[in-house]
Symmetry: D4
Subunit: 251 residues, 8 copies
């Protein structure tokens, strides 16, 4: 309920076209239902241009299909993360316009996907190894769906740091850098020391032995000696891209 | 802002004694300031009869004194947990009516402390060892301030389980049992298997070696094979008593 | 052996219908077998109205069926938690009256399930996400079997906190609130700050990355800055409902 | 060594004013010393407007004073974090223009501190409790020194969530929100669900029992179910503000 | 090489029936091969009466069969722990005399299994729940094979502590008590406080949620407030029985 | 209440010298107060010959003195562990017969300390380093007070394993071996592989870096590949000696 | 770009055979592409004689085959670690010269495998148990491929330490010792105390209960009281052998 | 007992100059006392040229002085690590020739310190920050005492990676590189990717927040994606230098 609606209601009261009891009834529910949370209701994920997001893991293909169908009725864009080929098959039957980003494990139903052009803000997605690519692609595709141009720079980990330097100019051009790394996670610190943009670090569960499912990389990134680095949860490519999109919002 | 206030406002609109713009302005703030959170505002700890609580640890005696003085102005009861003798000295100067529960480490300023009588709901506070007593006293004194009769049964840990059985009738009479134990925390399970009342388990940081500052007792209590047991944070005697008081509220 | 049985025995002694030696023999075993643990024997789970509970996980369908059949002979209600469809098939063959709560993963054999009516004490079961529902249903069905009216309020997590506020009146009506949440577990603190009833927090293992199988939510709930909150083990919906039922017992 | 310098050198070679050996020698060192790292050398913290930062903890007052004096010679702004009153006394003797932000534990020597005006980008610093204020002030003062307008909103934790809602409009006006919380760290999720700006979450080591020196809050924040939230290290107010400043850089 | 063999060799030297060089050659290898480690060589597990032990988990049925066949050639008893039905099938083909203890997951090839009689030292194996029985049976069968009489007392956990008391006389008769428990592991402390014999505590990985694969029970047992309790590794029924047998050796 | 007392009571009932109600009342309390726990009451630590034990750490010298004085009145031996010089000074004033074992940090008041002679069972206390000696002495003195002859073999850690071998004959003569080690705790495994007696392993908190306050040694000992080894809590020399004494009891 | 190439370029400038602009363009890219990182580019793993290494785990057989085929085109040796039989089948089809080391899980394509001869530096690979052999073989085969002679000494763990002593002379002959052990990892300390060569310790994930996937052995090895021991990641046989080869490089 | 001694003994037997019993007695003790451990006795730390090492932390100045005096009598070099100024004062009184390396916290008593010359093998000690210098100096001084030439390169952490590149040539000249870093420990990976020599990584406890006393850096280093890196315990500069010296031994 917008301010103009309130005023309209008050006019109706004034004009006797609505009784005081009826008006009071409407206003009583106002804080939660109508006005008060008009803003809150526009919960971030529901805003124009930003898609509804479904975390597919742990849901059956049928459940995913049904949720997506219901959301499509409301209009707007939809994306499902951690989706499988099988999930996509189920969705595609009901929603032929759905597209599947296989490596990123994302199903998307988009009204109109914005074409990348020079004016879009840019996000560089950088990975330490090739094994980090699925998480990186989750970030990259998400960032694109949320209206960013994405520069993908993969397999430039610190064990062969010259590969990173070759790409430095490109990385520096981005408005936000997403650094995706497992094992010791040193990439975030190195990138953080070389660029001026905000760096979102994504630890991945890639590795073995004492990598502790990504905790080692996570701790490493949190303890980064470089400034301008913040961290999201392990393997959370989506979350990193969302953060990047929020940072780039006004640009 | 109660419903009658809304109706009054609407009547003013109807009577032209207030402009639509003014009314809209008042209503716009409504969810947070006036009506919507009238209830919410009555935050638990602020209700009649329940004191304001100050966590003294980490505050200077002067800060504690000043906060207490300000709260006294508002009326109502006040209690400070994790207080030292030194804290009390500072408070007593300004508020001579303050009392200090030394073992419980609680300073209290109470309008009128309810006398224990047979009609009060009861809380049994049970400890495994003598070293758990400070935490137990924090619980016991808090429960008393919050309007409960407290039965103290200390040093009845499972290594000499007959001591516990000697007290079983007393423990069973309580409406709620608070089981305070460090080391292996087995007391909570044993008590939980012997009584019908809800058991609030408080792990303490008492112990040495692999007790991990109370984590061992905490894990033990969470994994209790007895039903009707729930757990609060390590050494959190206050929290256990608060929970007990909430459970006993209507009794 | 009840007090009246002891008196009867003593009368038999007095009447010479039993020798002193025979009576002494009977009384000697008394502490453990007969009288002494008459109370203890009435172990919580065995009391009238409370069902016997079998933790099915890790048992074969045949074992579950056999245990249930034996318990049925003793009369009384029986429930099996963490049961599978397959477990239910095995039980149903032998006990056709058995019912299966699929989402809750509970098999129940109930003499007569009490109809919900206005006089029953109420338990609100609140979840942060849809993925928490199986644990919540375990809690909800258990609470119902143990004689409570249950209000289910699902998917009101703090990322879209307005959904929680819409339901606040309902939640506040409950005698006990069970807050079920994975990920960061913040729901317990927020609910704890908004209601006057005791809140039982159930951390769930829902989440990924650094959720550590529910440890993150568990720690979050233990460290809750709200009072009147206690915690049970990860995913332990049954335990939370049992605690709630014990709290509601006299109501 | 800029491109024009290289050309100049080449011309000297052509003009025989320098021998090929000499030119080769100069060029051999080029990647690290002169050209190659001309960019890299402009390490983030050294750029115009951004001060040099000294982490004072673990250094003697004399060491801090000496380092600051040397940096002042180079010109530019300087700030020392985790500084004590004693550190400041030592610095002030040598650099009377130094100022001390006591709660923030920051010593600053600033050429000219920019006056806050309407055109500066804004950072909202929000804390759950009063005990989180030192970390929050470290963030707030750092953000101001780095050219941001800061909105301080303290003690609005989720146990009394209405206090947060009262301030929501203010928080929503900020370009970046820094959410500082110890205990269960739920504030970051709640704020993340209510605002559109990027949220930098700072776990603090405030709390007791199973808070594990801030790890509980850290895990909670990493597992946040709200999007648009990224995390820095425990108690790292400086790091959060630096990240915020980097995000706000172009605004 | 026994002392008498050395003397024999020396006599041969004296009698010239062996050259000094030959004798020196024999003696040179002595420390490790023959005499020096004659004792060491009789590694505990190899002594008369104690069987060779194979940890079957992680080995193929064929490997287990082959190892057993080779050991049989050397004579003596053999036992394989953590064996499956499939392992047994493979072994039985080659060694028809092999027996399989299904719940204990032990395959044994025994020259002559000592009959239990009143003179054997006794080991009581006590479990908290039925789910702990496989670990308990591993302990019980091992103890029997190692020459002890075993008293099995299962499902007497502390949630229904009267069951434990019913069996107390039996438990007290044992020379060593093995207490097997998962979940919160409180059984070890309670038993430790009630008996005079050494108690070997075996934490099991039984439980869910925050039991951490048995770590909770392990920590609980290590922190036992009862004396006369020592702990072996999680689920290590074999190790507990071995320790018990070593303690009972001379009896 | 012994059997003869029960019979006497029954006779009084028969003789009408006591009413049935009075008799029933007496019998009702029987399990816990009189007969039932006559045995249980003989809690281990209270048996003849075994001293009362006070854990002094965390108690004031005055409290220790007072507790000891009270215990002396009851007769029997007394020992206080983790005692300081200051504690001893306080005790000695009141109990001049008290003796102080400085390295072991034990105060003892003994009626008559048994002289070591050849017939006493023996305990070998073995340490890896010199820094483990205080824990070892706590074990050694405790074992002596509990009636064992102690062989001390210190500083024979595995980094210089020949020192251990030099002492092997002595170690093998002991009825029980206590292996005390910090750092990597390998001593327990090595000793366990070389002796036939039960080995009680005591991890110590000695070490630095990733020793985690003794957790590293504890884990190492629990995972020992040698059989016949059980573990007590970190630094718990007393507990190890108590266990050893219990094992040696009948010898 | 070598120094001679730079000089050549400068001569061309001098000779006017290249314009200054062209020369500047070439030199501008120099730091990363040509000269500056000429050394860096020769990343360790790419040097003559050292093979390219592929970590096969997590890659499909087809991906492994394709990567290997591409690398073969560049010439040089190739090895794939953590490979399965199935991976090898795929590779063998395309590269019939590939060999498979089954226990070591290594596929190798070698131009010419150097024959072991007396002049090669030697690496002793020592294991505690038979279960550690796969990790040990990964180390042994890697060391051989990298040009070392390998002495394999398996199953000499500390529980039967005489087996280790029998092999001591052999172990002492090696230039580097790799000690592979799970469970309590004591082997590294014992070996470290007995040899003069550098010891690379490899913790393995072998064990059960509280071995924590190799963390126990890892901690044990890090806390080794022996000097001259360094540690690689859990199960990282390849890494240990690589380190050994680097140490042996010049020999 | 060497082979010639055995032969001599056998000859005495043959010659009747010794009885068979006496000879047998001598030979029986042989493995441990004389021959068998003649080699073992030459424990690493005792060899010519390598000093005796005392870990001073936890010892009183007097104890340190006394131990050093006793060792000086035996001749040879001595060093004490983790020593304080106060320790040195005590030592210097008795041993005026003792020298103190303040930052390294090492006291040394050296017969003749070898002068650094071009022929010594070299160790580069590299640190990430200035706070890592005490650990680095412990490594550097130890390496020098053990006969190496040391190149110190401090404060070249990855946040300003160009500083590292400036020193690359120097670092590459070393036979062994010791990389000392706290916080995220990325330095080890970056150095490991840039040099051909073995890299010993030393995690330090430098940092705050989630650095967990150095565990974060330790995990990071263990998970290093660079090859040729092995790790020693947290803050163990001495251990790293010892390992480096062992590697350099033959050079």
């Amino acid at each position: 309920m917008q301010e103009k609606d309130i005023k309209k209601l008050l006019e109706q009261v004034k004009n006797n076209s609505i009784s005081i009891d009826e008006a009071a009834e409407t206003l009583k529910d106002l804080p939660y239902k109508d006005m008060g949370f008009a803003n809150i209701d526009n919960h971030r994920a529901l805003r124009t241009g930003y898609p509804e997001v479904i975390f597919c893991q742990g849901k059956t293909p049928e459940q995913i299909r049904d949720i997506m169908c219901e959301l499509v009725k409301k209009g707007g864009n939809i994306m499902g993360t951690r989706a499988t080929e099988e999930d996509y098959e189920a969705v595609k039957e009901a929603l032929p316009q759905a597209v599947f980003f296989e490596t990123a494990r994302i199903i998307a139903v988009l009204d109109e996907r914005k074409k990348a052009n020079g004016n879009l803000p840019t996000v560089a997605v950088v990975t330490a190894g090739t094994a980090d690519i699925p998480v990186a692609e989750e970030a990259a595709v998400t960032a694109e769906i949320l209206g960013n141009k994405v520069i993908r720079i993969y397999d430039v980990g610190v064990a062969g740091i010259h590969r990173l330097f070759d790409k430095l100019t490109q990385i520096r051009e981005a408005d936000v850098v997403i650094a995706v790394a497992g094992m010791e996670g040193a990439l975030a610190s190195v990138v953080g020391g070389l660029v001026d943009s905000p760096v979102i670090a994504v630890p991945t569960s890639i590795g073995y032995g004492a990598n502790l499912g990504g905790i080692s990389a996570l701790l490493s990134m949190l303890n980064s000696c470089a400034n301008g680095v913040a961290v999201v949860n392990i393997d959370n490519g989506f979350g990193a891209a969302y953060m990047a999109a929020v940072i780039n919002k006004g640009k």
